[in-house]
């Protein structure tokens, strides 16, 4: 722009022209105005990633104390409840189902989105029931929260993970309702995709916890 500018003391940003309203990184979609600018990402997507970040830190704190504790001389790893293998498989299938739902949704199959989310939700509930069964297996074997340091960490980590999974199942239920009401796949995916991000995260989190609890 060669027109003389109103004076400013702002340093011109190198890539953009000075004083040009650079609307591409902001803007209010409903505000009328001459340039309708959409935000680059839906807010829910950013919020989910921030939530994932905060939960990662939470479990990083838990597991760093776990790693510090297991270095001590009296450390013994407790028995592995066999049902955990099955639970892990169920959770992986649940994630796969959501992945498939998104994949089909992007190709325009709304019914498949609904189906995929419904299956994922059911498998999520199944996983939670499986975790309860695992705790019962341990209790039956006489291993309680206070039995030894490993059991304390086992109940703490799986319990906290389960709480986050309950939230995930609730979110999946919400996504299922949104998908049922949606008139086209894109609408459904607006809700399903952020929820799926969270679900894949708690799924990966489980693999991490399972790994460090028994295999490290």
């Amino acid at each position: 722009m060669a027109v003389p500018q109103a004076p400013t003391l702002e340093k011109p940003p190198p890539p953009r022209g000075p004083n040009r309203p650079n609307g591409e990184d902001g803007g209010h979609p409903r505000d009328g105005g001459d340039a309708m600018v959409r935000p680059p990402l839906p807010s829910a997507r950013i919020a989910v990633w921030l939530l994932v970040g905060a939960i990662t830190i939470l479990f990083a704190a838990f597991t760093s104390t776990y790693l510090a504790r297991r270095g001590e001389a009296d450390w013994r790893v407790g028995p592995l409840p066999s049902i955990l293998w099955l639970n892990t498989l169920v959770l992986l299938l649940s994630s796969a189902s959501l992945y498939w739902a998104r994949h089909r949704g992007r190709r325009g199959h709304l019914d498949d989105v609904r189906m995929g989310v419904a299956v994922a939700t059911a498998l999520g509930v199944l996983f939670l029931m499986g975790q309860v069964a695992a705790w019962r297996q341990l209790v039956a074997a006489g291993i309680y929260l206070t039995t030894n340091p490993h059991s304390a960490f086992f109940y703490l980590l799986t319990g906290t993970h389960a709480v986050h999974l309950v939230g995930g199942v609730a979110a999946l239920g919400y996504a299922l309702r949104a998908a049922r009401r949606a008139t086209n796949p894109a609408r459904a995916l607006e809700v399903v995709e952020p929820v799926a991000t969270y679900w894949h995260f708690v799924d990966g989190l489980w693999l991490y916890l399972f790994g460090i609890l028994f295999w490290l």
């Binding site: 109103a6 340093k11 929260l145």
Partner: protein
């Protein structure tokens, strides 16, 4: 979840409860946070007075104060365990329930949408939820005063095993449990808040408001929100584990072989140092959660009232980001005497001293902003300049304490108390006062009394130095932090007069705050009506009415054409150009295109 025009104009139909109590309007939520924090500041301040009553006049009897807390006084004298409860609750309340909530919750909520040109937060409902976790947390926290054993005695840091074993101290019973639950609730509130702040700043900036055109207050809130999001989950994890240790009998933090009151405890195999690591991994970022928002507020006020652009805007942003990043690498400097390896201590010393660099950049830039300026000494400006003074005074002692050889001598003495009351507590408080004087007209549409504000400033400024500066000497003389009475130890006998002086200064400082309370309350109802832009400032919140309407900006959102610091631009018709003024051809004689006009 943006607010549509229909909703914007529908505010008349909202009931009183929806509008002022369970409100989803960020301005109301911000004011709610601020007001609640002021009430809590009163509680925390009164507790501080009790501390000084005891330390300044050990053994004296206060029958009247005893009537307030019948369980805490015996024969008119403060009981030792009650004294420790008071110290614990003073710290907890001031740090988490006053400074974090007022600066981040109050000003963050009020200013973010207004200064970036948005109608509200990205998630207004979550925002309301965030506030409404705060009053219940307060009730639970304060309830600990009234349960058996009273409030916790373990300090705001809740060090294990004192905080883990019910038998360890009177306040380690139900009181400590309530303390932990209250803190956990507040952490969730902070997480909701920071999630909202970050998303809002990413998503809802108006046209032209690029990141590098955001006012420094917004940058400060943004960086603070990221800090909170990444630091508080660690404390949350620690709180959960401590609750398990207390209620379920696990031994995450409690070591084997402890004998308490003649009884061998049943816990075994925990490590109390883990609590310290987790606590300080949050605890150090937390002090920057307290000090970054005032840094932003002060930068804003200095530029506005000095009528000069902030010096080194990009360095100000960069130094905030650097401080935030470094704050995660320094927690060990709180633990030099915990038996850590000297090499680890040296590493923490290095990271700690590096923080001095971005801090010095900020201080230099503030002073450079004031250099040869036509300063308007409004109360907000006085408090902003006072902030710089307190920050430097407290920051310098931080260099002492950051070095293990010095810290090992001064650790847990009044030198530390003096240090953090300057650099974190008083400085943040000055940021809170500066922000309140500055944005009061925007919040309530009325002006605060400037004369009372200046009196308040001078009494507070002198009062803070008189109270906290002598504590350095007490600390070097070996006076322990949280000590019940100086008469207990021979080496503290000579400190009686010094402590009496500190107490008298503290009482004066406390009384001076009544001027602020009076000014605030009277101005709410009788203050002079405020114009839209009483300080002739450039940022967006001053370009709408005072107080702004629901939805903030009328029918169309503002468009931003320039950075927020166009003060005293050469050849401009006025000494400020609001961010909304478009680039027009240079004004020719005759005054066409006057950029100062709204």
């Amino acid at each position: 979840m943006t607010i549509t025009h229909h909703e914007v104009h529908a505010d008349h139909q909202l009931s009183f409860v929806r509008r002022y109590i369970f409100s989803q309007d960020h301005k109301i939520i911000g004011i709610q946070y601020l007001m609640t924090s002021f009430v809590m500041a009163l509680v925390g301040g009164l507790l501080a007075m009790l501390i000084r009553l005891q330390v300044g006049f050990p053994g004296a009897r206060w029958p009247l104060a005893g009537l307030l807390f019948p369980g805490g006084f015996s024969g008119g004298a403060i009981k030792p365990d009650f004294y420790l409860s008071v110290v614990t609750m003073h710290g907890t309340i001031m740090i988490f329930f006053v400074l974090t909530t007022s600066l981040s919750g109050g000003f963050g909520n009020f200013l973010i949408p207004l200064q970036i040109g948005a109608r509200d937060m990205a998630f207004p409902f979550l925002n309301m939820l965030s506030y409404w976790l705060y009053p219940p947390a307060i009730l639970i926290l304060l309830a600990s005063f009234f349960v058996a054993g009273g409030a916790p005695n373990s300090g705001w840091t809740a060090y294990v095993p004192l905080s883990a074993l019910k038998e360890a101290a009177p306040g380690s019973g139900l009181g400590q449990t309530l303390w932990l639950i209250a803190l956990a609730m507040l952490i969730v509130a902070f997480l909701f808040g920071s999630l909202n702040y970050i998303t809002t700043i990413f998503q809802m900036r108006t046209r032209g408001m690029s990141m590098m055109r955001m006012p420094l207050t917004i940058w400060a809130m943004f960086v603070t929100a990221i800090l909170m999001l990444l630091a508080f989950p660690v404390l949350f994890a620690a709180v959960i584990m401590l609750l398990f240790d207390r209620l379920a009998g696990t031994s995450f933090f409690v070591p084997s072989g402890l004998v308490v009151g003649g009884q061998l405890i049943s816990h075994s195999g925990g490590n109390p140092l883990l609590w310290q690591h987790l606590f300080w991994f949050l605890g150090h970022p937390e002090v920057y959660v307290l000090i970054l928002p005032p840094m932003g507020i002060v930068s804003e006020i200095l530029a506005t009232q000095a009528r000069k652009p902030i010096f080194g805007y990009r360095y100000m942003v960069g130094s905030m980001v650097a401080i935030a990043g470094l704050s995660f690498l320094v927690w060990g400097h709180h633990m030099y005497v915990s038996g850590m390896h000297p090499l680890v201590g040296a590493a923490f010393m290095a990271t700690t001293l590096v923080i001095a660099i971005p801090s010095a950049i900020k201080t230099f830039n503030w002073v450079a902003t004031l250099w040869r300026a036509r300063i308007r000494f409004s109360p907000a400006m006085l408090f902003a300049i006072g902030f710089v003074s307190l920050f430097v005074t407290g920051g310098l002692t931080g260099i002492f304490l950051g070095s293990p050889p010095v810290d090992i001598y001064l650790h847990d003495t009044y030198f530390v108390v003096a240090h953090f009351h300057f650099v974190m507590a008083s400085a943040a408080l000055f940021g809170l006062f500066a922000g309140t004087y500055h944005w009061f007209p925007k919040m309530f549409g009325r002006m605060m009394d400037e004369r009372l504000g200046r009196i308040h400033f001078w009494l507070t400024f002198v009062g803070i130095y008189a109270t906290f500066f002598p504590m350095h000497f007490a600390g070097v003389a070996g006076m322990m932090r949280r000590i019940y009475s100086t008469s207990l130890y021979a080496h503290l006998q000579g400190l009686g007069v010094l402590n009496m002086f500190i107490s008298l200064a503290a009482f004066g400082l406390g009384l001076a705050q009544l001027i602020f309370a009076y000014n605030f309350l009277v101005s709410l109802f009788r203050g002079q009506k405020a114009e839209a832009n009483p300080w002739e400032a450039t940022t967006l919140e001053w370009q709408t009415s005072s107080p702004p309407p629901h939805g903030n900006f009328g029918d169309t959102l503002p468009t931003v054409y320039r950075w927020p610091y166009d003060y005293s631009v050469p050849d401009a018709p006025r000494d400020y150009i609001p961010q909304t003024v478009p680039p027009t051809p240079l004004p020719v004689q005759g005054g066409a295109g006057d950029p100062g006009a709204q």
